[in-house]
């Protein structure tokens, strides 16, 4: 037996991770200051208890159905597929969820958990403001105090979402340290949590952070993939040939991929933001162009300089503008189960316009990265092949950015 085959045979099953310490191979884990070790353990125990609790599951399912509006449709974009002249492209319509993105699947779940744990105060970090809005929304509904940390640069870029959070009763705290973007907001939320651990629940918005967050957020988002799998089988009688999702921290991608992870015939593609091009350094493609390291409580691929300082990132979509990525993606990359590619600002914008004009669906700029790669891949496949793209959010929040790009002030 070759060494490679042996390693493969001994490698853990893809759906068996993380291990008891939150590791996905060498990635993940719990790299936090001592004060947070006990609350993380409390969270893990609570999550593992309620995950399998029939009462919790029933409440979560009811909220997902009646409040979020699930299941979200799986829609065959036939005109766009025909125009591209290749595989059939199906869109998983997370843009139709309440608050307009997949983020709410996770905040509904974590908020229910917070309630069961007797916490009274919710905190969150946000970049684009989508996770902040999704958190403020569930906090309003359940009557929690809510504080959202947001970099001052992002507050300027995403003014409508800031106002939306304030309308919902959340306090938006500007973060002026470091690069004044998402990574700094996450640092600040951690500092708040360390200070207020007794009454506060920290809702992390993606599959990153210390154990159990990467696994917990993935599990709450996996409803996307479970539905998509059943819908695809029902509509076509077959599994899809490929799944495509954009990757910021990686929650919409993990949510779509996970229920297909043992279906070896389904190819998985994660699409990172190449910004102005990988060669320019102005991008946010940590898996495609970064190096392994430790940040925000886990070991993963990071955008960093040769001294291990974290770099500023660039993407036209604020939601992908993050120098790290969830540890499970790092593991899926190294193991070869998923492939990671990158798409530039310009390519994403082109697909943003293309989908809007041919299907009457305005996608989020984040999701437009996945669409751009789908356009590339579909052309290489015959028309009896099927691709599912996670349309992770709607683009209404992005129309100002797109207008500005065309030299138009709204």
């Amino acid at each position: 037996m070759s060494t490679l085959a042996k390693t493969k045979a001994q490698a853990p099953a893809f759906d068996s991770l993380p291990d008891a310490n939150g590791h996905f191979g060498p990635y993940g884990g719990r790299f936090v200051a001592e004060t947070l070790m006990a609350p993380l353990e409390e969270l893990r125990l609570a999550y593992e208890k309620f995950r399998d609790d029939p009462g919790f599951k029933a409440e979560l399912d009811a909220d997902l159905a009646d409040y979020v509006g699930r299941p979200s449709p799986l829609y065959l974009a036939s005109r766009w597929s025909q125009k591209l002249g290749g595989a059939q492209i199906f869109l998983k319509r997370e843009d139709l969820n309440h608050t307009g993105a997949h983020k709410v699947n996770n905040t509904v779940g974590q908020a229910l958990l917070a309630k069961r744990m007797g916490k009274t105060r919710i905190i969150a970090e946000t970049g684009a403001g989508q996770h902040g809005v999704a958190t403020a929304t569930v906090a309003a509904r359940l009557g929690f105090e809510c504080v959202v940390y947001m970099g001052t640069d992002d507050i300027q870029r995403q003014a409508p979402n800031v106002f939306r959070m304030r309308l919902l009763g959340a306090k938006v705290v500007p973060v002026n340290s470091g690069s004044r973007t998402l990574k700094d907001a996450l640092n600040e939320a951690m500092r708040d949590w360390v200070t207020n651990v007794d009454n506060t629940f920290y809702i992390i918005g993606t599959v990153a952070g210390p154990h159990p967050y990467p696994a917990m957020v993935r599990d709450f988002q996996a409803v996307i993939g479970r539905e998509a799998r059943a819908q695809c089988l029902q509509q076509t009688g077959h599994l899809p040939d490929a799944l495509i999702a954009c990757v910021g921290g990686g929650s919409n991608a993990m949510g779509l991929f996970y229920p297909f992870i043992n279906d070896a015939e389904v190819a998985l593609y994660g699409v990172e933001a190449a910004g102005q091009g990988l060669a320019t350094g102005k991008h946010a493609a940590s898996l495609c162009a970064g190096k392994a390291g430790v940040l925000h409580g886990n070991r993963t691929y990071l955008m960093q300089d040769p001294d291990g300082q974290i770099l500023d990132t660039h993407s036209i979509s604020a939601g992908l503008d993050y120098p790290g990525v969830g540890p499970e993606h790092a593991w899926l990359k190294d193991s070869g189960r998923a492939r990671y590619v990158a798409v530039t600002d310009d390519e994403a914008l082109a697909s943003f316009h293309d989908l809007t004009r041919t299907e009457g669906i305005i996608p989020a700029l984040e999701s437009s990265h996945a669409l751009a790669y789908a356009a590339r891949l579909a052309k290489e496949m015959s028309s009896d092949r099927r691709i599912i793209v996670n349309l992770s959010g709607r683009g209404d929040k992005d129309i100002e950015t797109v207008a500005r790009h065309q030299g138009i002030e709204l």
Partner: protein
């Protein structure tokens, strides 16, 4: 014998407690670091805790965050910090130096190359804030092999079971974080700290330091009654920050603060143990 052990043994023989000031290396400028370290020793510091600047200091409050940003403006990398320690060591063979920082800059150098370089530079202990013992075995082994003490934090939220694990893993001294919060917070709970220190003493065989939130001589003296070492961070960095343009003035401020603390900690009766 390690410099840290020699230092604590010497203090114990005199019934005194260690004063450990913290400063971020390279703040406000790399040229000021070694003179500041020497001035701190002259003012009564027993051990120096030298912060390694990091872009994302998650466990630090605004004062030390700003110090990291000032140092990073001068590109003060972990390698540069080791050069500064080496400069300091050229004229001070006794005072232990403990590095305090985050894992990523160490991770990118590699654990063994880092441990070897740190030992050569004259580093005595390494405290990695975001590295709990559960994740630390490899780095700790590399440090111990290079005769450097891996130092671990204990917090108000640490359970009794983990207190035992940490006491078993720690070398040099144990660093008790005296509040729930980041460095420089204002809410140190003396009574809770007293209670927790009694619990830690029951399973620790090495000295215990207390830090986070110790701002002035009065609190330092109070902590010296229950701990073997008092760590002062943000209060020192604040002196540097308010005089960042004038190294001599910054140094004078730091010296005044440390002298007051030293005097309060050493004054008659101050060291009668309450616990």
């Amino acid at each position: 014998m390690s410099r840290l052990k020699a230092c604590f043994d010497g203090l114990k023989a005199q019934d005194r407690r260690a004063l450990i000031p913290y400063m971020t290396a390279g703040d406000p400028h790399p040229d000021a670091t070694v003179p500041l370290m020497r001035a701190m020793v002259a003012a009564g510091a027993d051990i120096i805790e030298l912060g390694v600047p990091f872009s994302d200091p998650m466990a630090d409050g605004p004062v030390i965050q700003a110090a990291c940003e000032r140092a990073l403006k001068h590109d003060v990398s972990l390698r540069r910090v080791l050069e500064l320690v080496q400069d300091f060591r050229a004229r001070d063979r006794e005072t232990p130096v403990v590095l305090m920082g985050y894992l990523n800059p160490i991770e990118i150098l590699g654990y063994e190359p880092f441990a070897d370089a740190a030992a050569k530079a004259g580093v005595d202990g390494v405290l990695t804030v975001d590295l709990p013992p559960e994740e630390a075995s490899e780095l700790a082994a590399a440090l111990v092999a290079a005769n450097i003490d891996p130092i671990f934090l204990l917090a108000p939220t640490t359970t009794s079971a983990r207190t035992k694990t940490i006491c078993a893993a720690a070398k040099g001294f144990i660093y008790y974080v005296s509040l729930k919060g980041v460095t420089g917070a204002a809410t140190l709970d003396v009574v809770a700290a007293e209670r927790k220190l009694t619990e830690i003493r029951a399973c620790a065989t090495i000295p215990i330091g207390v830090g986070f939130g110790i701002k002035d001589a009065a609190v330092a003296a109070r902590m010296a009654k229950i701990a073997d070492a008092v760590v002062v961070g943000s209060a020192v960095v604040e002196c540097i920050a308010t005089n960042a343009g004038d190294f001599k003035a910054a140094e004078a401020k730091v010296v005044t603060l440390l002298r007051e603390m030293r005097e309060a900690m050493d004054s008659r009766g101050a060291n009668a143990r309450v616990a």
